[in-house]
């Protein structure tokens, strides 16, 4: 069989995102990941809510369901329960997944339904023309907050930890090297995989992640989490994370300064939710954590669900109708 390419997972439908939108590169990463997995299109379903990100299913040549605002995790739960053989992806955004649909996201995560949830976080409402979102930073000026927003922003990965997620990862939209394999890791996880993708909205929130994702400083502003490896970063790999035991917090250190060596750095343990919480909350001037922040083993919801329910119809209606106390008036 010929090697699959991302083009094998493209549809004939014209993509209508704004030129330069981060969604283009995420779409390509998704298609690349599917190609790398050799995903069977008929067994793959993309379910989305409403918003710019949620248009993605129209452009992936698999089954797809563009649903209603915020409800994709609930619909995807129904799909997965009805047919656990399917690979079910949920495409959502910060407004769709964390505002109108936060409740469903929370419950999908706590149940650990085997879904792959990709949350495109651009910290703004795009499709409704630029209002502030639940992840917008305080002071965001927008058509609905001309004096600057006053709501505290939600941190998606922290939300996922609170909801009991068993797989939490973070990535950048334009990372065509890192994102496809990360998506495959998400797919291979048993249970809900939650991936926050920092996505650039070129029209309403341009370059909001610039200080994190700018290509030139990425090595200094991001830290890649690799299970079992020391948490180090920097162009020269000369920085790292240490635990401040007095304050139970993480500090950034320079290797070779004050006698600090690699052996003093924290080693990433993706099974540790306490560490995950500290990593997930890091923001500039600390490096922003990328990669798999948390991964835990737990039964997937649909497995427990079907383990307790017989798959095939065993009891016949004619028999069920006669259960209980009968008054038999048939001729004897």
């Amino acid at each position: 069989m010929a090697k699959l390419s991302f083009k094998d997972y493209a549809t004939d439908q014209e993509v209508r995102w704004c030129p330069g939108c981060g969604d283009y590169s995420i779409l390509k990463a998704v298609q690349r990941a599917l190609a790398a997995q050799g995903a069977k299109p008929e067994n793959t379903v993309f379910v989305s809510g409403i918003g710019c990100s949620s248009r993605l299913p129209y452009h992936v040549n698999t089954y797809g369901f563009h649903t209603i605002h915020g409800r994709a995790p609930a619909i995807a739960t129904g799909v997965k329960l009805a047919n656990p053989e399917l690979d079910v992806w949920v495409i959502t955004g910060d407004g769709d997944g964390l505002s109108i649909g936060a409740n469903h996201l929370l419950h999908a995560l706590r149940r650990n339904v085997n879904l792959n949830i990709l949350l495109f976080n651009n910290e703004i409402y795009g499709l409704t023309k630029g209002q502030y979102s639940p992840t917008s930073r305080i002071g965001t000026t927008s058509p609905s907050s001309p004096q600057g927003s006053i709501d505290s922003p939600l941190q998606p990965c922290l939300f996922a930890i609170g909801a009991g997620a068993t797989f939490i990862a973070r990535a950048v939209d334009i990372d065509q090297q890192g994102l496809p394999p990360l998506l495959t890791e998400a797919r291979d996880h048993k249970g809900t995989a939650f991936v926050e993708i920092l996505q650039n909205c070129i029209v309403y929130n341009k370059d909001v992640f610039d200080e994190v994702v700018g290509r030139k400083m990425a090595a200094e502003t991001q830290i890649r989490c690799t299970h079992g490896a020391p948490l180090s970063y920097g162009k020269a790999n000369d920085k790292g994370l240490m635990l401040n035991k007095q304050s139970l917090s993480i500090k950034s250190v320079e290797l070779g300064v004050d006698g600090i060596g690699e052996e003093d750095l924290l080693v990433h343990d993706e099974t540790n939710p306490i560490l995950a919480q500290m990593l997930a909350t890091m923001s500039p001037p600390m490096p922003v954590a990328m990669g798999v922040i948390l991964r835990q083993e737990k039964p997937a919801f649909e497995e427990s669900y079907w383990a307790r329910k017989p798959l095939a119809r065993r009891a016949k209606v004619k028999e069920l109708l006669r259960r209980g106390n009968l008054l038999d008036r048939r001729a004897k």
Binding site: G64, L81, H107, K309, L321, L326
Partner: protein
């Protein structure tokens, strides 16, 4: 009192006590005994929304009413002729409903100063003349119960819990009804707790023995009523919730489709979920979602993936599901939405019945998004109505709303078990096994010309990869389309789809009576009351007929022509006139309204008075069946 009348063919008995007294269980067991004795019957549980309301209060009274008899019984009856009252509050709130001369059996142990005060009674009704028009029997049920279970060492609180079975034993003796089913029930239910099991058995038997031995037989013993003229089939009792659950499962078997029932708890709809959990072996999976919206969405997801999604709620929950129902309309997915209506608006009165969600079912969505609507008329009718809802959903690939209510869900009646072999299979519109590869549609949105149904293509099938959604789609390809002509065509198609249901459903029949005079036209749980009122009125020589609608959207295709044959149309409803509006709107017939929104069912007497006011005399007497 009833025992003096020899032509009595039915009794109406009401059990009433505190919401923790086990009144509902007592009523259910008495119902089964009545059925096994060969009586037709109809019951009405009437309980408060509070789980354990403060002891002895009026608002904490739980009641269960049953009418059973030797002819067709379709209502729990307007006015009980026997009341069993476990405390002063139970007596106080039920006394106004009784027929004069009714037998009142009270637990006199509870008529203390303290209890009277809790029931807001200034004086003791047993002594102040309140009950002069009734036959009152005072028995210290509490003391007799304690004595009968003393040997089992349960302590006085748990011993008193057996009171309902002691009283049930006595009432079964009064009506010469069998104890066997209740004895079996106790043995199974309390199999793991010997002391409780034996105590309840002893209480039941002691109550029964009390009837035989006490010097009260002349008052207590009721005139036996004949068996009902039943057909030569098997019968059982069934509640609306049971029949609805069985009907869904039956529809799944007829359609060769597994079901996924997704819901969120709400009174009075939860009993359907509880019933279906017990039927999972029959091809239905249940899922308790995080909220009403998630419940309907999970059901839609299940339907998309090839299992028929069903969701169930009551009015407030249906309101939350509304947007998602529109998604099912747009995506042409089968879905059954069950509304167990309750009194509203807002939280309203969760345990009280009303028929006020008809507008919501028919009109309650944004945009032109028509949905077929059917309504169950009685507990046993829920079986056929559930099958009908599934049949329409799959025949036309559409969401369908099934209206029932709290009264139907909890009430029970005697049910002639249907001959399931005679039910038509349901075409599930799945492509597998039906289509050869050269017969595959070019698009899954090629629609059947008579039903407007598309193929139910589902993930897992490599032949039908497709993307759907709530955005308007091209009528041919299914791709996103904002074209003006296309939206017009899609809107027309959606209307035609629902309208086409009328070509497949039976013509409307007249349930009783003949054309010409007054037609009583109604829907839902008022059926039993209207049946009885029209039957009595026909016997009384009035020119009246009963027409009861199952299909509310669309109406049966002959309904307009049928109603034109009557001089007057009367529409009794437990709302402010919703079917009346629909009839005027769709058929241009004017109607007279009879509306009641008290949270209580329509009474036969109320309706008969209205029929008498409106109906002409018969020229040639017709007889009710």
């Amino acid at each position: 009192m009833s025992q003096t009348s020899t032509d009595k063919t039915s009794h109406i008995v009401r059990f009433a006590g505190d919401s923790g007294d086990g009144i509902q269980l007592q009523g259910q067991q008495f119902t089964i005994a009545s059925a096994l004795a060969g009586h037709d019957l109809s019951t009405m549980p009437d309980f408060p929304a509070e789980i354990r309301a403060p002891h002895g209060t009026r608002y904490g009274v739980s009641a269960f009413q049953i009418q059973f008899g030797g002819e067709r019984i379709t209502t729990p009856g307007d006015s009980p002729d026997v009341l069993i009252a476990f405390n002063p509050a139970a007596l106080a709130v039920n006394i106004s409903h009784l027929v004069p001369g009714a037998l009142i059996l009270v637990d006199e142990h509870t008529f203390t100063k303290q209890h009277l005060k809790r029931a807001d009674l200034a004086s003791n009704p047993l002594e102040d003349g309140t009950l002069n028009d009734f036959e009152v029997v005072r028995i210290d049920i509490s003391r007799h119960t304690l004595e009968s279970v003393k040997a089992f060492g349960l302590g006085s609180k748990n011993s008193l819990r057996c009171k309902n079975f002691w009283a049930l034993g006595l009432v079964l003796w009064m009506f010469e009804q069998p104890r066997s089913a209740t004895l079996r029930w106790i043995e199974t239910k309390f199999a793991s707790n010997e002391a409780v099991k034996f105590a309840n058995l002893a209480a039941l038997n002691a109550g029964h023995a009390y009837g035989e031995t006490a010097e009260l037989a002349h008052v207590l013993s009721q005139h036996p009523i004949p068996q009902a003229p039943l057909d030569s089939v098997e019968y059982r009792t069934v509640t609306g919730a049971e029949a609805l659950a069985l009907g869904l499962v039956a529809a799944g078997e007829l359609a060769d489709t597994e079901l996924m029932f997704c819901s969120y708890p709400i009174t009075p709809a939860s009993s359907i979920l509880h019933q279906l959990v017990g039927l999972e072996e029959a091809g239905v999976a249940t899922f308790q979602a995080e909220d009403e919206i998630a419940a309907v969405c999970a059901a839609i997801g299940a339907s998309y993936a090839g299992k028929l999604g069903i969701t169930s709620s009551s009015g407030p929950g249906i309101a939350l599901k509304t947007e998602a129902i529109g998604l099912a309309v747009a995506t042409e997915l089968p879905l059954v939405v069950i509304n167990s209506q309750r009194a509203g608006p807002s939280t309203g009165m969760p345990t009280k019945t009303e028929q006020s969600d008809l507008y919501q079912a028919i009109y309650g969505r944004n945009a032109d998004s028509p949905v077929p609507v059917v309504a169950a008329r009685s507990p046993s009718d829920c079986f056929d109505t559930a099958i009908e809802a599934v049949r329409i959903a799959l025949r036309h690939m559409t969401p369908v709303i099934l209206l029932t209510d709290g009264y139907i869900a909890n009430a029970s009646e005697l049910w002639a078990i249907p001959d399931f072999d005679s039910y038509e299979p349901i075409d599930n519109h799945k492509p597998d096994g039906r289509l050869r590869s050269d017969e595959l549609p070019a698009s899954i949105f090629e629609r059947d010309a008579t039903t407007q149904a598309r193929v139910w293509a589902t993930p897992g099938d490599p032949r039908f990869l497709h993307r759907i959604g709530g955005i308007e789609k091209d009528i041919v390809t299914g791709n996103i389309s904002y074209e003006a002509d296309n939206h017009q065509a899609m809107t027309d198609m959606r209307l035609a789809k629902v309208a086409s249901v009328a070509q497949f459903i039976p013509e409307q029949i007249i349930d009783q009576g003949l054309p010409g005079g007054l037609a009583v036209v109604a829907w839902g749980s008022t059926y039993g009351t209207i049946y009885q009122a029209v039957k009595d009125s026909l016997r009384g020589g009035l020119n009246v007929a009963h027409i009861h609608l199952t299909h509310l959207n669309p109406f049966a295709r002959n309904l307009g022509q049928l109603l034109s044959q009557f001089d007057i149309v009367l529409v009794p409803e437990l709302n402010t006139g919703q079917l009346a509006t629909l009839l005027r709107d769709r058929l241009l017939v004017d109607v007279v309204q009879l509306n009641k929104v008290s949270g209580q069912p329509l009474r036969v007497g109320e309706l008969k008075a209205k029929i008498t006011e409106l109906a002409p005399r018969q020229l040639n007497k017709v007889t009710g069946n």
